[in-house]
């Protein structure tokens, strides 16, 4: 490579030069290309190949500037010929870009001069032995700024097909692949947010498919709307949307709620019934809002547990209400099997107990709650998850919030207990095997993780514990502001589509540096299929166009080694 070529190479994608900035605030660059060639959120690299450091950041603002305001005020096109006006504008009017200074890294060997050295170095970056580090200094004045190339993105976000790197989308301007490290993604709970219709469910499908294919983590999905397991029809396009079950027939177990459950007309792999004995007073308390429970409920439930221990639910269910028998003195007194009688016997307020009983009727009547389930479906689910399989729990016809809350919480509690025990066994040096990491995916997470319930559900416990017990959450929600902020702040990776509500935006960005810049980017995302990734799980925030969940996706995912993705996507979808 001659000097001439070398100096020309970076020029091709250079968009500007650094003109100012500080470590505490953003960097300023003067663009050398027309403003429309750069967009907010663009991933850029500052620094030359020969510099000590390369700096990575995002464009968060573009400003029209003038060397002298008069050049901007004067309508040059009217005063001068087009050619002169053009030349004058080129030198006196320009765009300045605000760039976050997020990461820095030493440039590696030149890939063209020393391909082997570059490869070794590249691998060491991917394995994080030479990781990009948070920017601790600033680029030189006039350091060239260029749009990130595919290799830059690969350096920072990982290279598709290598290790746990999974492509989640592409950069906006040039469509370079952007990956997430799936291992890292599940190390802490993660959240996918966005207003309705922004593509949360589609992106979740992509991630879940990736996790299943990656095969390091077990996945439990509470599929409230039957979106993930079975095939589906997209509500807006009417297109066929393949479900996970169809693509991973043996790996994915479909579990239906209730003995006779069908999922979109098909029989599940097996069904789940909740044993009455498994229900704890806490499971009920959690439904306080749904069931409109009173303040006295907790006292009553405590008394029930004190009286009947594990069978409290069955016993309580059996009690009669408003049942009176004539007593010895001829007066009517509560029947011995009545709520009232029990209440009197344990000294709780009779009417409170009566009220609770009547409110719990929805549970008493729930067909999937039985005294003796036909099979131990819970155990089977745990076994499945142990064996490298994944479970999609379909709620079938039980689509109310009550069902969803009750079942998902109860199951999660049970499963977490199991994982906690295993973890303790593993750590206790009893020769127990390491538990398989588990990700629990929940839609409409705010219903489980809102401020009122956060203290009580196992979900919030999981979120707070991070990976201590090998269980993390993948929460999917359109109202992040309603999720308890303590939970929000525990989320390692946040992937968010467009949000309209400023509270939601603020919630997604809680606890992050450069919030102001990110807020603007978030508000200006495309309404569909563009997301901002941020948080601990990604090296730096970035806006991407979501990977399309379609046939191409599945082809690429299922035969990744043979048909490695071409950079030239012109022929994608064409059949040769």
């Amino acid at each position: 490579m001659t000097d001439q070529q070398r100096s020309n190479t970076p020029k091709t994608d250079q968009i500007g030069i650094i003109t100012g900035g500080s470590l505490k605030n953003n960097l300023q660059a003067r663009l050398t290309v027309p403003s429309h060639e750069v967009q907010e959120g663009a991933f850029v690299v500052a620094g030359g190949e020969k510099d000590r450091w390369l700096f990575y950041g995002l464009i968060t603002d573009l400003r029209l500037e003038a060397h002298d305001p008069r050049y901007a005020q004067e309508d040059l096109g009217r005063r001068l010929s087009p050619r002169l006006a053009g030349l004058l504008r080129a030198q006196t009017l320009y765009t300045s870009a605000e760039i976050t200074n997020t990461l820095m890294m030493e440039p590696g060997p030149d890939p063209l001069e020393d391909p082997e050295g570059y490869e070794t170095w590249f691998q060491s970056v991917l394995t994080e032995s030479v990781p990009p580090q948070p920017a601790k200094t600033v680029p030189l004045h006039h350091a060239p700024v260029r749009l990130a190339r595919a290799e830059d993105i690969a350096l920072i976000f990982g290279k598709e097909g290598e290790k746990a790197f999974f492509r989640l989308g592409d950069t906006l301007e040039q469509g370079h692949p952007v990956c997430v490290n799936l291992d890292r993604l599940v190390q802490r709970s993660a959240g996918i947010f966005g207003a309705t219709g922004t593509g949360k469910s589609f992106l979740t499908r992509v991630i879940l498919a990736g996790l299943i294919q990656h095969d390091k983590t077990a996945v439990l999905i509470f599929d409230m709307h039957n979106e993930y397991g079975p095939d589906d029809i997209a509500s807006d396009t009417g297109l066929h949307v393949p479900g996970l079950k169809g693509k991973f027939p043996t790996k994915v177990r479909m579990v239906g709620l209730g003995r006779n459950a069908t999922i979109r007309g098909a029989r599940p792999d097996y069904t789940l019934e909740v044993a009455e004995a498994d229900i704890t007073p806490e499971d009920v308390l959690l439904l306080a809002q749904e069931l409109n429970l009173r303040d006295t409920t907790a006292t009553t439930l405590d008394a029930l547990r004190a009286s009947f221990h594990g069978t409290w639910f069955s016993e309580f269910k059996k009690m009669r209400t408003n049942a009176f028998v004539p007593g010895d003195d001829g007066k009517l007194e509560p029947a011995p099997d009545s709520v009232q009688a029990w209440a009197e016997s344990v000294g709780v307020h009779g009417s409170a107990a009566e009220a609770l009983h009547s409110k719990l009727r929805r549970l008493f009547n729930a067909p999937y709650i039985v005294e003796q389930p036909a099979a131990n479906a819970l155990q089977q689910m745990i076994d499945n998850l142990d064996n490298g399989q994944h479970v999609v729990l379909s709620f079938g016809d039980y689509e109310t919030d009550l069902d969803y809350l009750f079942v998902s919480n109860l199951l999660t509690r049970r499963i977490r207990e199991v994982w906690e025990k295993r973890t303790n066994d593993f750590r206790g040096g009893k020769g127990a095997p390491e538990p398989r990491p588990l990700v629990i995916a929940v839609e409409e997470a705010h219903k489980l993780l809102n401020r009122e319930m956060a203290s009580q559900t196992s979900f919030s416990t999981i979120a707070r514990e991070m990976r201590k017990y090998y269980v993390t959450l993948l929460i999917i929600d359109q109202r992040p502001s309603q999720i308890y902020d303590e939970v929000m702040s525990q989320l390692g990776t946040r992937i968010t589509g467009w949000l309209g509500d400023s509270d939601d935006i603020a919630a997604v960005l809680t606890g992050l540096a450069s919030r102001d810049a990110l807020r603007g980017m978030l508000a200006r995302l495309q309404p569909k299929e563009e997301v901002l990734m941020l948080g601990w799980g990604v090296p730096m925030p970035i806006v991407i166009r979501s990977r399309r969940y379609d046939n191409v996706f599945w082809e690429e995912l299922l035969q990744p080694k043979t048909s490695s993705r071409k950079t030239n996507t012109v022929f994608d979808g064409l059949d040769f």
């Binding site: 050049y71 004067e74 005063r79 010929s81 002169l84 006196t92």
Partner: protein, 214 residues
């Protein structure tokens, strides 16, 4: 030789420029904005731009003005015989030493009675095409001079020469340099560009005419 047109001799000089004189009947050759050179010796020549042409008066000329009817012969006499000097101001732009063009000011100014020549197209192309138009800064430095007119006249001459020499991109590069040098001075720059635009318009009209003539 036709391409070495002597147009006068040096009257006085300083580092940034010089003044030469020519007789009234020589005045047709040098024109405002033309590039000239002074040959100092075989190795060293100085280049400059004509920025001022002054036809001096003197007592007699002033006296002749008062005459009711100026005799034709007296008019011819003044034009042809009298040493009423035409003083031509030249802005030093650079020099050529041993064939190397420099756009720095000449290290030594020219001396009295040195001959001044109009530059040939080849010399114009060589001088204006060398380096990165550094000499333009000399033109723009002195705001007492009619900078915009001067630049426009020079750019026209150099543009025509450079285009003919197969370098049409020169003009745009020169304009970029002018803008770069003057962008801190909005009023001057706009005046300069306005004057340059006049050139452009004139050329457009010319090429339109040529087009019409086939």
């Amino acid at each position: 030789m036709a391409d070495h047109i002597e147009i006068g001799r040096l009257l006085r000089s300083e580092t940034t420029g010089f003044v030469f004189g020519c007789k009234l009947d020589q005045i047709d050759s040098p024109s405002f904005g033309a590039l000239v050179r002074v040959r100092m010796d075989d190795h060293y020549q100085i280049f400059g731009l004509i920025y001022d042409i002054q036809v001096q008066d003197d007592g007699l000329v002033r006296q002749l003005i008062t005459s009711d009817t100026l005799a034709n012969e007296a008019w011819l006499d003044t034009r042809g015989n009298r040493t009423v000097p035409v003083e031509i101001g030249v802005l030093a732009l650079g020099y050529m030493l041993d064939g190397q063009v420099s756009h720095l000011l000449p290290p030594r100014p020219p001396l009295s009675l040195d001959e001044i020549f109009l530059c040939t197209p080849a010399e114009i192309a060589a001088f204006t095409g060398a380096g990165r138009m550094g000499y333009l800064r000399h033109v723009l430095r002195d705001q007492d001079k009619p900078v915009e007119e001067l630049l426009a006249a020079h750019l026209k001459q150099a543009r025509d020469v450079q285009s003919a020499a197969g370098n049409p991109a020169w003009f745009e590069a020169a304009l970029e340099e002018v803008i770069a040098l003057l962008k801190d001075d909005y009023p001057t720059l706009m005046r300069v560009l306005g004057a340059v635009d006049e050139l452009e318009l004139a050329r457009d009209r010319q090429s339109e005419l040529n087009g019409r003539l086939g």
